[in-house]
Symmetry: C2
Subunit: 514 residues, 2 copies
């Protein structure tokens, strides 16, 4: 089976881009046009790595196709895409209130029937009011909005943040985006322009940040999250990594935090956030805090970087805290909405000079505007139905059920890791992932080395071929060398697949030990 799969994975599309093959391609001129000589192409794109949808996913998609044609081709019936936080793909139902509002916004002619009994039966009055308000604010969801985002939505986001943190927030500091990715891109494109510029990035990390640094030709400076300390930032190592890199002449411009963590699920403590902000102030680093999982928290408490920075400004008014530029990222893809495909999010910025704001706006302007329906979802995220309003009860129930389901599923999977040989796992505080550590057998490591793929990648391949479960290897998440992990979303429901995973894992380990 090994040979067969090795061949498959090498034939799978993005795999032809692995280092060995790139080298081979360099020696060819396939066709006499600008595309055909690899050395003509953007080398940063060749180098960029985004493992969440990497070669394993492509292979999984190929297997899925094969299963459609021949249902008994594999010892499972379906692929479980546990590689990506895509809740609706796992059958999570959309929140009724959101979709009712968007349904009317897409087809406002429905409002012509607002007086008819069937309409009142289907669309509660607060849905109608909200749809009307949003339609007034945007005209048509088919019209380009302001590049910074629909004004009324930005106003509501500012109010929401103000209420969450109990500090004022101005709509001018809110930029609506097509999701977290665009937010990160806007800021990083401004700050990183070449290999002499660096960013402090967590290890392990959601690899968007590393991929963007690759594309921007910047230097990723990894700081470690300490697994034995619930994946909290290893503060001393963070500072050391900064100093070491600076000594090499790299201008470190920014630091990125993911809070709650992806893939770790860790909520950063207020103390740690404060320490990081102090360091950023001292070194003049711009701070990005990716807070897309702020509503996916089961243990501990989520604290926003913004709140801590505002506290510090208040407590130490003469300490130049207003000179720390902070960018917080949020999205409608996560939380209980899980509206990934609708592409909506925002950044809120603090202490950013006005000419930099103009540049952020200029970049946003070239993209024209974020999807208007995604912008409307941001509005619904920050202004849920209130107690007493007709949609409140159902909305609250749905949100709570999704939250509980996720917590339960997390628990099932977490407990299961205890039955997996050579696996240890930190219990996550939140987010959508487990990130277990696997002590891989030497034989597997050797086989991987010989095949020129990462050991944890080979492990994921073995899991995929036995169970149809698609994981992300830690090597794609900037983990430390010789330290093996996988990221697995706990969105799939039930325990059947979990048992299959445990069984397959133990079988694979045994196979390689004998």
């Amino acid at each position: 089976m090994t040979g067969h799969y090795k061949k498959r994975i090498y034939q799978s599309k993005p795999f032809v881009l692995c280092k060995a093959l790139i080298k081979k391609m360099h020696s060819h001129n396939y066709l006499p046009n600008a595309f055909t000589n690899v050395s003509n192409l953007n080398q940063q794109v060749l180098q960029a790595n985004y493992a969440i949808r990497g070669p394993l996913t492509v292979l999984a998609e190929e297997i899925q196709k094969a299963l459609l044609e021949k249902p008994d081709a594999y010892p499972f019936q379906d692929i479980i895409y546990a590689n990506i936080g895509n809740p609706h793909q796992f059958g999570q139902l959309p929140i009724t209130f959101l979709r009712q509002v968007l349904s009317i916004c897409q087809y406002p002619a429905l409002l012509d029937h607002a007086h008819e009994p069937w309409f009142k039966n289907i669309f509660p009055s607060d849905v109608v009011e909200r749809a009307k308000l949003l339609l007034k604010g945007t005209g048509s969801v088919g019209a380009y909005s302001d590049s910074q985002g629909i004004p009324i939505v930005r106003k509501h986001v500012a109010e929401y943040i103000q209420e969450r943190d109990n500090y004022p927030c101005h709509p001018d500091n809110i930029y609506l985006t097509s999701g977290a990715t665009q937010g990160a891109k806007l800021i990083m494109t401004l700050l990183i322009t070449g290999s002499s510029e660096g960013a402090m990035l967590p290890s392990p990390q959601y690899p968007l940040y590393g991929a963007l640094m690759d594309l921007l030709h910047g230097k990723s400076v990894l700081y470690y999250l300490s697994e034995k300390d619930e994946w909290n930032v290893d503060v001393e190592q963070f500072k050391q990594a900064y100093e070491d890199e600076s000594k090499k002449g790299t201008n470190v411009r920014l630091c990125v935090f993911i809070n709650p963590g992806n893939p770790t699920g860790t909520c950063m403590s207020e103390e740690c956030i404060e320490e990081m902000l102090r360091f950023a102030k001292r070194k003049g680093l711009v701070v990005i805090s990716d807070e897309v999982y702020q509503n996916n928290v089961f243990k501990k408490k989520f604290t926003s970087f913004r709140k801590v920075l505002c506290d510090l400004e208040t407590r130490e008014p003469d300490s130049d805290w207003d000179k720390v530029s902070l960018i917080c990222i949020n999205s409608v893809s996560k939380g209980q909405f899980g509206e990934c495909g609708q592409r909506g999010g925002y950044i809120d910025i603090m202490n950013v000079p006005s000419f930099v704001k103009d540049l952020i706006l200029k970049l946003a302007t070239i993209d024209i505007c974020a999807p208007v329906t995604g912008q409307l979802l941001v509005d619904l995220l920050v202004r849920p139905p209130k107690a007493g309003e007709p949609s409140y009860k159902l909305y609250s129930q749905e949100i709570e059920n999704i939250h509980k389901d996720m917590e339960k599923q997390c628990q099932i999977l977490y407990e299961a890791t205890k039955r997996m040989k050579y696996v240890t796992c930190q219990e996550p505080h939140g987010a959508m992932y487990l990130h277990p550590n696997i002590r891989l057998p030497q034989k597997l490591v050797r086989e991987a080395n010989e095949s020129n793929i990462e050991p944890d990648e080979l492990y994921c391949l073995r899991i995929l071929e036995r169970t149809g479960i698609c994981l992300v290897p830690g090597s794609g998440l900037c983990q430390k060398e010789n330290d093996y992990h996988v990221r697995i979303t706990f969105l799939a429901k039930g325990s059947e697949y979990v048992e299959r995973l445990v069984e397959a894992h133990n079988a694979i380990i045994n196979d390689y030990e004998n």
Copy 2:
């Protein structure tokens, strides 16, 4: 009034970025963090220019706000954003069929009522079928799709192109995007990596291409469209510009055509397209054809680059035509849909090596996926209701009415230019713009020079302050020097504003002549 406005425009946000001010800012360190020293920032972003939403638009937005507070602050009641092709903003109604399908896709629970009379009354059966088909293809519009786009939509796009051009087209060569911008970005990011690399771009042009070249640090090599020849490509100058630039050592990698033209509205002839393709083949240039206005054609005929390339491959089978890489761009924002805010589009690629396709996919993967509802709109674009289906009649009527309205509005505006002093205008074959030439009085040119702004920008400012009509100055569209134009969309309805424009224009010209 001049002083007042000059001050206003300089205070308006993006204007602080004009060259003179950038210089000034270089001498400051505003705050001691990475953001605060302009020289730390991405200089390409500082240089990039996207005039469609430039300082004039920002000023227009400020005036709009001022009008809300004080309705008699200006000699007009409203801003007319004739700077941007945003049909729904001008009250163009969405096509019923599209919105009915999307409304159900947003809230599939509506289908539970499919047997009820009111439902049947509102949603024709083909709408229901289509919504079901698309929901089957995507699961939930809230789920991430494949990064390349929903498979069934790509299949339908391929079928549509095949039918249009009468040559086979494979879904693997279709990439669904969040609009034309993302399509152009994907390709240009791959090919342009520094100042030694160039792209042939039309002058005048929709300035996205120039802005992207700025961001990518590449060299824009302008070729001229000949105004006296209906804005057709000046083929000899095109070739000369290429040769001149190559001699300087620039590696020209690609050429961009906008067909039908933006801002010119010109449909390129089959002969010209053939000549351009022959040149691209000889020089190994990748060809991008931006064909987003293919359904906005009143005069002449739209011919796709793809069709001409396929014809050539057939007629001259041994001439290496399969070595010309071609990328065609389309969007749901234009045509009669005008669904700009929904962010949907696609690229179809031809003769692109498979490892380049992998790289395009990798870049798309980092963006995760295009908005799913935008992808569904692409499906509706390429598979309109057929004769005999319940929605056919209304759909066809709506499309035809929008098309006719636009043609009529184009005619009204075109005829009006004949009454504007020192204005000559080519009648456009299609698209959404007039691009009149204005011989500006010397006094206006001098005043502009003294104020350090472009003469046509000053002209647009004068028009804005008198009429509330927001135009795009030709200087923002990479026009030849000392050759003044404005781009004006013909989407606003009626003739009242046209008369105001004519009157204001003639008054301004007279003012400056006396």
